[in-house]
Structure formats: structure tokens, C-alpha cells
Amino acid sequence: MAGGVPGVGSSRGVPRLDPEQPLPPGSNRSRILGGGESGSRSVWVAVASTVIFFGLAVVLIVSSPGWPEIKSTFFNGRIFSESFPKIVRQFSTNIFIFIVAEIFVLIVALFFAVLRSLPGPVFAPLRILAIAYTDVFRGIPTILVISLLGFGMPALQLQGLPKSEVFWAIVALVLVYSAYVAEVYRAGIESVHPSQTAAARSLGLSRMQSMRHVVLPQAVRRVMPPLLNDFIGLQKDSALVAFLGVVEGLQTANIISAAEFNYTPFVSLALVYLVITIPQTRFVDWLIARDRRQRQGGTTL
């Protein structure tokens, strides 16, 4: 091991470009950024071509023969301003459903992921249980699970069993999405090198302590993007509760749409979803970037 040549493999001695220093004329920096043109000029070209492209697209759509019908059916200003506040108000039910579901998903999924990564023959039954759970609930359509629990459980008429559709819808979403998220967690846990566990155990930490303090924090950081993916999926699937007759966002849009013979309320609801989901993506990107900055101290790789 270890080559005998000093300095090999070390980052020292490699000349670094000082960002403060002006670049010598003819350096390739501007060529990389602007495809052979100077930086500010290429920005103007980008802006102009974008404006022209989308301007033409808008003109083309608006001047097409069917546009007035499309506009009054999907983008009706009066119906939009009337329906939007109502939909937002009822959307609070969706928000309640997915926030409660997400909290439980984080816990239940972690439980099954940890079960599945227990080593040794003694834990075989628990591993089998965890595998069976993910197989079953990943394999059934979400709407089927919601129907089974949302219609079925209240129909049992059992004492002490909640009859609320919202309750059972949350249970169904937790069951389905925990199966997905458990797999995401597991991928994260397995991506942490075993030497990390070895180091933790060698210091006297128990198996659970190593998991809690060393493996999981690293695993969760790595799976943030796919975790958010599943959460956005869950937020969108909160609309499936409409199927049980709960008056939430989609059901409200449905009612208004049927009364007005117009589809603008659905566009309003679509807008609400976008306003909710897009900032989350940006937020997670920011979290990841911040974590990397903290660990590597501003080195941009």
C-alpha cells in the first residue's frame, strides 16, 4: 500500500485559479460560459430568444379558432375568482390529512426500515414481516386501500372503532406511503458504509445507538430528495379522499364545476397544488446545499 512518491494523491501543490485575479486575455472562461461570445451579450441573446419564443407561442394559441371556447371553459375569470377562495378553504382538509399522514409515515416507515435491516437469523421473522408489509401495500392501488378502509371499517359498526372517513383515509395513506418510504429509508441505511457502524460499535455504542446517532442521520440526509418525492405524491393523493364523499379540495371543485357547467374550478385547484408543492422542492434543494456547504466549507466541486 501507499505509493512512495511524495505528493501523489494530495491536493497540495496543484495551482489554483484565484477568483479575485482578472483572467488573462484569451483565457477560456468566457468561452465556457457564453459559447464564444462575451458574457453580457449571451445573456441578452438568451432573454430575447426566450421572449420571442414564448410570445409567438401565446399569439399562436390565442389566435387559434377554438381559443374563446377553451378560455371560457377552463380560464373563466368570474368563476375563478368565485371558486378559488372556496376551494382554498376546503383545501385545509387536504392539508390536515397530508400533514398528519406525513408525520405518521416518517415514524412507521422508519420502524419497518429498521426492522428490515436487523441482522442475524434470530430476527428473520421480523424481516419477513417487514418485507411482506412493503410488498403488499406497494402492490395495491392507493384508492383501493382507501375504499377498503374508508367504506369497510365504518360499516363494521364495531364499538370504539372510529367512523370518520377522514380518519380511515389517513390510515390508508399512512399504510401505503409507509411502504414506499420504508424502502427509501432502507436504501439510505444501506448506503452508509459498514465501517461507520464498526467505528460506532467499537466505541461501545449499542446497535440501536449506532443506528440512531451514526447511521440514520447520514441515511436521512442522503434520501431527502426521494423522500420529498414520496411526500409530494402523498399530498396529491390526499385528493383521493373525495372518493369517500369528504368535502375537501377536489370535491369542492367538483361541486362548483357541476353547478356552473364549467371546468375552471379544477384549474383553480391545480393552481393550489402547484403553489404548495413547488416551494417544497426548492426548500429541499436549499437544505441539501446548506448541509454540503457546512460539511465542506464552501468548496464548490
Binding site: M1, G4, V5, G7, Q196, A198, S202, V214
Partner: protein, 254 residues
């Protein structure tokens, strides 16, 4: 501890066997380490040095034989593994620092979680260690921002923070750039001077000759020869020890 005099040694290894599948790595290792001894294990890659260290810390379960640490048989069934590991520190070739924690947190994690030290207590101790080994200004850095030599010194401090009676060092300089080896070896020298009992697997022959109270040459899963460093390096008795050292000299590593 109610034990016989012969078992009062820091470490006693008897007839240790360990296989990975078909591969028989350790084939009956016997070794006795007294308190304050510094033992260097030398031998070719694959001769079982690392495996022996990992067995002493119970990272690898042993197949046969027994290991007694300060009178307690740690290979006995039902033994509290975590309690034993607290008394034995191990440092790895690849540092294995926790990348999501600051240097300070790397060092204080085990004392707070395992022994139940208060965080102020653990922090004071960690800063003392950082001070002693010249890394006081790196307490709040993350491992990715340190050089390999600094990372390995932190790994040694992390093990020392548990105040172990014995330190196991597994080729701790093998992953380092040559110019960073010295700073790590200096730390180990200081530990030896302070009387720490150490079992060191190493390829640094000059260092082994310098620091060891005894050198053990491992070959084909057994200790083929052992003795004081002057004897092993100058007039080895075994033919295979001679051959191994000749290869090291030919490679320009001694």
C-alpha cells in the same frame, strides 16, 4: 477481579482461529501482552494482522480459541460486548470519522451516550485532548475539511476519550500521504511514552523498530516469530521472517 496471576496480563490470546468462508485467516494465534507493552504486528497483507485486532475488539466473532482481557474472558458466551469495547479503543486504517458531526462531537459522542458523561464534562475532556495533540483550533470543523493526518489524529482522540486501558491500531498510517505519516506517528509515540498498552498492526518498519517493546511476525495465520525489535530486524531466526524483511528492504521501505 478474581483471577490467577498468569491471567492478569492485559491481553491473553490462546489458540485463536478465524475463517472467512473457505479462507482460514487465523490458524491458532497465541499471544500474551503485559500492561504498558507496545506490540507491533508485522507481516504481509493478508497475514491476519487486522483480523487479529478486529477479533480482540469483538468486531469479528472468533471461531475457536479464547481471548482474555485483564482477567475477563471476552470470548465467553453471554458477555457484555459493549462493556468490553469501552475498555479497548481501536483506530482504523480509513479513519471512519462520522462525517455529519463536528470534530468535537465525534469525540464527545461515545462518552455522553455510552458512559453517560454530561456534555460539559465530555466537552472539557475533548478540548483537553485536542489541545494535547495540537488540534484545538479544529474543534468545530467537519471531518471532510481536515487533512488525512488530522482526521486520523481525531480518530485516535475519539478512541482515547473513552479512556481505554488498551489501544488497538490497525495500519493507521497506510491510507495517508507520506508527508502526513509523521504527525500521526508522533501521537502514537506520545501514547507509548505515557504507558498506554498498545497492539499495533503496521507496515512502518522503522517506526516498529523504534517504538515496539516486542515485534510479532505473522505469517499464514500464526505468529511465526516474536522478540525484541533489535532481534527481529537484525537477526531473525526464521527463514520466512528473513524473506519477508528482505522483500521490505527491496521495496525500499526500511
Amino acid at each position: 477481579m478474581n483471577t490467577t496471576a498468569s491471567e492478569r496480563a492485559a491481553i491473553v490470546v490462546e489458540g485463536l482461529h478465524k475463517s472467512f468462508g473457505e479462507l482460514r485467516v487465523l490458524r491458532g494465534v497465541d499471544l500474551e501482552v503485559a500492561d504498558h507493552e507496545v506490540i507491533c504486528l508485522i507481516g504481509a497483507s493478508g497475514s491476519g494482522k487486522s483480523t487479529l485486532l478486529r477479533c480482540v475488539n469483538l468486531i469479528e466473532p472468533v471461531d475457536a480459541g479464547r481471548i482474555v482481557v485483564e482477567g475477563d474472558e471476552i470470548t465467553a458466551p453471554g458477555v457484555d460486548v459493549n462493556a468490553i469495547r469501552r475498555r479497548i479503543g481501536i483506530v482504523f486504517q480509513s479513519f471512519n470519522l462520522f462525517p455529519h458531526m463536528s470534530v468535537l462531537r465525534n469525540i464527545t459522542l461515545a462518552p455522553t451516550k455510552v458512559v453517560g458523561a454530561s456534555s460539559s464534562q465530555a466537552e472539557a475532556q475533548a478540548r483537553e485532548l485536542l489541545d494535547r495533540f495540537g488540534l484545538a483550533d479544529k474543534a468545530d470543523e467537519y471531518p471532510d475539511r481536515l487533512s488525512g493526518g488530522q482526521q486520523q489524529r481525531v480518530a485516535i482522540m475519539r478512541a482515547l476519550a473513552m479512556q481505554p486501558d488498551i489501544m488497538l491500531l490497525d495500519e493507521v498510517t497506510s491510507a495517508l500521504d507520506p508527508e502526513l505519516v509523521a504527525e500521526v506517528l508522533d501521537v502514537i509515540r506520545e501514547l507509548a511514552a505515557s504507558g498506554m498498552t498498545m497492539l499495533i498492526a503496521t507496515h512502518e518498519m522503522g517506526f516498529a523498530r523504534d517504538i515496539a517493546t516486542r515485534v510479532c511476525f505473522l505469517d499464514e495465520g500464526v505468529i511465526a516469530e516474536q522478540g525484541p525489535p533489535e532481534q527481529i530486524f537484525s537477526e531473525p531466526e526464521q527463514e520466512r521472517t528473513r524473506q519477508f524483511l528482505a522483500r521490505i528492504v527491496a521495496a525500499g521501505r526500511m
